[in-house]
Subunit: 330 residues, 2 copies
């Protein structure tokens, strides 16, 4: 048995969550429903204009890893924070959830601070993310510990992490170390605009070494530059062993080796959609590494996602096992 069921690599961020209406978004020039990268000046300006906020550890792959850890899975996370107060909060919350987190800290003297994401939640529960990457942008190949990758049944790579000067090389190193030890590789496309920025690099990585691809409808369509959802699903399914594509209120589609399953979404009042995809992936990977069928993995993922969207914040607050039990999925 390998030491870790899943090791995640992503952008380490603390979320700053505040409510805002559509008027504020358009006034502040924020595109609704997506992640936009901002610099420190913009982060300072935007923060000064938003209402009272809550700070909750976030980061897409970190949310996924926190979810797997809450389910009892053996996990580690790789992502860079600074030795500052927000960095301390990020590290605490992962470790407190039971994940191993030992990426070297950027020193107090480092120019950039711990990354943060100003998440504005509109009354419809949709989240618009404004990401100041800070030091997480500078994750280097040397931050990847080959031995830790070799200890992973699966690694989970966050698409957002493609935004960064040495990120492609860091991912390539992680993939080599994982595969060299018989482990497998999963990737999430993260965001349609992230796909837009890195389509060729994503595609190359998928074809070369990704075993399990997570995405949502918009990301998949952007990836394959088509409006035909079924065609895009079919094409992706020829390039990876397992495809898990979420589709909002339509649930998720799972494809593998010519088979296709549909997992229904759980009707839920949407309070804050932040992290729904992250926990879908987390619960899916947990179930997969626990030996569940792909169909069941998809259904478990949808139930887990429904927990996240029912409250503010991207990490699970309810007992996920109890929730699976209630849906007859244990």
């Amino acid at each position: 048995m390998k030491k870790f069921q899943v090791v995640g690599i992503g952008n380490a961020m603390v979320d700053i969550l505040a409510r805002a209406d559509e008027g504020f978004l358009s006034e502040a020039g924020i595109e609704k429903g997506i992640m936009q990268l901002i610099d420190m000046d913009r982060a300072v300006d935007l923060y000064s204009r938003i209402g009272p906020a809550k700070e909750i550890s976030g980061g897409s792959a970190a949310n996924t890893i926190a979810g797997i850890a809450q389910l009892g899975g053996r996990t580690a996370y790789v992502g860079k924070v600074k030795d500052d107060q927000l960095g301390g909060i990020f590290a605490h919350d992962l470790r407190a959830q039971g994940a191993v987190y030992d990426t070297p800290l950027a020193p107090k003297s480092a120019e950039h601070e711990t990354g943060r994401c100003i998440v504005l939640v509109t009354p419809d529960g949709e989240r618009s993310m404004n990401t100041y990457l800070g030091v997480t942008e500078f994750l280097e190949p040397s931050d990847i510990d080959d031995a830790q990758m070799a200890d992973a049944e699966w690694i989970y790579l966050e698409g957002y992490r493609f935004d960064g000067p040495e990120s492609h090389e860091a991912f390539a190193k992680a993939i080599r170390a994982t595969k060299g030890a018989g482990g497998r590789v999963s990737l999430t496309l993260s965001d349609p605009f992230c796909v837009e920025r890195h389509r060729d690099a994503f595609r190359q990585m998928i074809v070369d070494g990704v075993d399990l691809l997570f995405c949502n409808r918009a990301e998949l369509l952007s990836m394959y530059q088509t409006d035909d959802f079924d065609a895009a699903l079919a094409q992706a399914a020829t390039e990876v062993e397992i495809l898990a594509c979420t589709d909002s209120e339509n649930g998720a589609h799972i494809l593998s080796g010519g088979d296709r399953w549909h997992a229904p979404a759980i009707p839920t009042e949407i309070v804050d959609a932040t992290g729904a995809g992250d926990l879908f992936a987390g619960a899916f990977l947990w179930a997969l590494t626990e030996g569940r069928s792909l169909e069941l993995c998809g259904r478990i993922g949808c139930v887990a996602a429904s927990e996240i969207i029912s409250h503010i914040g991207a990490r699970p607050e309810a007992d996920l096992h109890a929730l699976f039990e209630r849906h007859g999925l244990n």
Copy 2:
């Protein structure tokens, strides 16, 4: 019309909120339901042992001021934070709520950090507070701006602020400046153990210059060292013009000039009691400065408190005016 309806002076803190069970409290040597002061070593140790947390601006009087500001009241707050990330969060959240906050920051080089309160919420909704005061302990008389005090209809003094080397002198200065300009003084006793630590100083201040005293049952009994609640209420009412004493599920008792009113509690599922007393005081002071009767002030206070205990965090999340409307209190 004075510039401010209420100016609050208190310990500026960021709350670190996590769930814990009774077993953890006893294992960690935490007394349930009260505020205990801890040093930095203990704060670091305790933080390493608690589960994933959320960071939300807190501080008792700051919660009160945030509540008044949310209601549209004209407010300012005095309390010390450092020029660090948590200090920035604290300042942002007050200003974003509409309060004036211009207490000089302790410099980055200051020995102590921004204060924080590790709040452990047990399944019964009770909160056990572990407070590292940090720089807020060092609020000095020079941080009190006489002109700002003179601009206040009411000042609101936090009993917790009595823990600090120069706090009594800072309060005395604030009271002089306020009263000298025709303003009035309210005080909250904050906590029965805080009363224990500072009984004589509290008593002196009450007799000398407090017009409106906020407390709860346990604090009042501790103040007057008796088990006879009615006798303590009666005695306090002879020493201040207005007494507003909360009494958990029994609501609140308001006494003034020989009159006494009872305001009923609003039945609510208790998620997290942190800040219920703070917002009671905030809504009470807002209503008072808007010219409402004392009985109505008490009822409005109880409705506001019910909002706070229905969610995690000590600052209001719902629209309080809409809530008052639903209870026929506008």
